[in-house]
């Protein structure tokens, strides 16, 4: 790269990619910026797709920006509807269709794609929920009064179940693990989250897998591993996502469950950075590599990657306390930090009352590393602050005690 980069290419036109191109302009970069997106759509926001977008009434599509704003005001060269098929770090080009677009700085922001289940190919009514097109299909089925089976009691699946119940529709959630969300929040809190489903009339079946789908062109029934079957017009498969790195094979960029980056989001390929769900970077705050699938870090990394790429000598590590939220029924679940803990302690237990607050803290060594709240919007960010400041476990318990007594 010469003294200063002349051309930026961002691959992936969603949250991280959008924040990257906006940050480039904000940093005063006046050269050509190309934003490449596989979907036909302008960038839009995903969290509402499994929440408000599924509600009854006219849906509001959560667009981030207008085409005018992006191409006119920001002067972005938008290439939508065609995926990038290759990155060549030697010649410094990105291949899109028949074009080879040169770059000085490239940001990989291709996100993640949902895992699917075998046996559903060609059956209408079986969906994952990642894109606007997926959400439109799921919404249409709910509008038609579908009997719904959700496979996987993770966050997205649980939100779909909530949306269906809000409409008064019957929902079965099938979860292979004995307790939902064990990996995401641990055993104790996983059970508490499961209780929310049962309290809201969702038929939650844990410890059973899907044996197959039945139907003539369109799904009619889901066969389960325990020999039973559930009638269904709509199946939503929410069994996790994988980083979208297929197009990077042979690029020279290191891949290991995501694009491997250092703390500044640099991949090692000259001028190549990564951001968002696709990036596995070293988070200095926890001194370990992480790949998150959370809104906040995707947005922040998009901007941070470009700032660092434009001025590598002043590059700043990106460190964060992971944060996500999920809305189930009338309950908000929020998690900060990491769930891989030596110990989980429930410090507030309002599980008996409707709308009651629950707070669990996660310990690693003698440090507070995570906090989960249910209906705890007024405390969750205070715990995020404690984790950010590397607060000791003893001090965190003191803080919790003071909050409880307040």
């Amino acid at each position: 790269m010469g003294a200063s980069p002349e051309r930026i290419v961002v691959v992936g036109a969603s949250l991280a990619g959008l924040r990257a191109v906006e940050a480039a302009r904000k940093a005063g970069f006046g050269g050509p910026v190309t934003l490449i997106g596989a979907e036909d759509h302008l960038p839009y926001d995903r969290p509402p797709l499994s929440k408000a977008y599924l509600d009854e009434g006219d849906p509001v599509t959560p667009w981030f920006r207008t085409a005018d704003h992006l191409t006119g005001e920001l002067g972005i060269d938008l290439r939508l509807g065609t995926p990038a098929s290759a990155l060549d770090t030697a010649s410094r080009t990105v291949v899109v269709g028949r074009d080879e677009i040169p770059y000085d700085v490239a940001v990989i922001a291709t996100g993640a794609r949902p895992r699917t289940l075998p046996g559903a190919d060609g059956l209408a009514g079986v969906h994952t929920l990642r894109t606007l097109d997926d959400a439109r299909a799921v919404r249409a089925a709910l509008d038609a009064g579908a009997r719904t089976v959700v496979v996987g009691a993770g966050f997205i699946g649980s939100e779909v179940a909530s949306g269906a119940r809000k409409r008064g529709l019957p929902v079965t959630v099938v979860e292979a693990m004995p307790t939902p969300l064990v990996r995401a929040v641990g055993e104790a809190m996983g059970q508490r989250c499961a209780a929310l489903h049962r309290a809201n009339g969702t038929d939650l079946r844990c410890g059973v897998g899907v044996a197959g789908f039945e139907g003539d062109g369109r799904v009619e029934r889901v066969r389960l591993s325990d020999g039973t079957a559930v009638e269904a017009d709509l199946v939503v498969v929410g069994v996790g996502a994988q980083p979208a790195t297929g197009w990077l094979a042979g690029s020279g960029v290191t891949l290991d469950d995501g694009v491997v980056c250092d703390a500044t989001l640099a991949t090692g390929g000259p001028g190549v950075y990564a951001a968002g769900d696709v990036a596995r970077w070293h988070n200095p705050l926890f001194d370990r590599p992480m790949r998150l699938e959370h809104w906040t870090s995707a947005a922040e990394q998009g901007a941070a990657a470009v700032r660092n790429a434009l001025d590598p000598s002043a590059a700043r590590p990106y460190e964060t306390v992971p944060y996500f939220w999920s809305d189930w029924y009338d309950t908000r679940i929020q998690f900060v930090g990491v769930p891989t803990a030596d110990e989980v302690v429930v410090v507030e237990d309002g599980s008996g009352a409707a709308g009651g607050r629950q707070v669990a803290l996660y310990r690693e060594g003698d440090r507070l590393v995570g906090a989960l709240t249910v209906n705890g919007q007024s405390v969750i960010m205070k715990y995020r602050g404690l984790i950010m400041r590397r607060t000791s476990w003893a001090d965190a318990l003191d803080f919790a005690r003071a909050r409880r007594e307040a």
Binding site: W295, A299, A303, V321, Y323, R332, Q377, M381, K382, G385
Partner: protein, 63 residues
């Protein structure tokens, strides 16, 4: 600089609070409370980070 919250957009996720706790706080009713009407001295960067960090783009500044 005055801090403006679009109440119709804010969903009380509290990201602003974690980035600028002296300015923003989500209360026990889940409502965002502004602890300062204008950007306090020395907190401009934090408030800017909160504005950029808000998932619903509910925050802005007005001269």
């Amino acid at each position: 600089m005055e801090i403006i919250v679009d109440r119709a957009k804010c969903t009380s996720l509290g990201i602003c609070e974690s980035l600028a706790p002296d300015v923003f706080e989500v209360d026990d009713n889940g409502e965002l409370v502004l602890k300062a009407a204008t950007v306090p001295d020395g907190l401009r960067d934090d408030v800017e980070a909160a504005i950029a960090g808000c998932p619903t783009e509910a925050l802005r500044l007005r001269d």
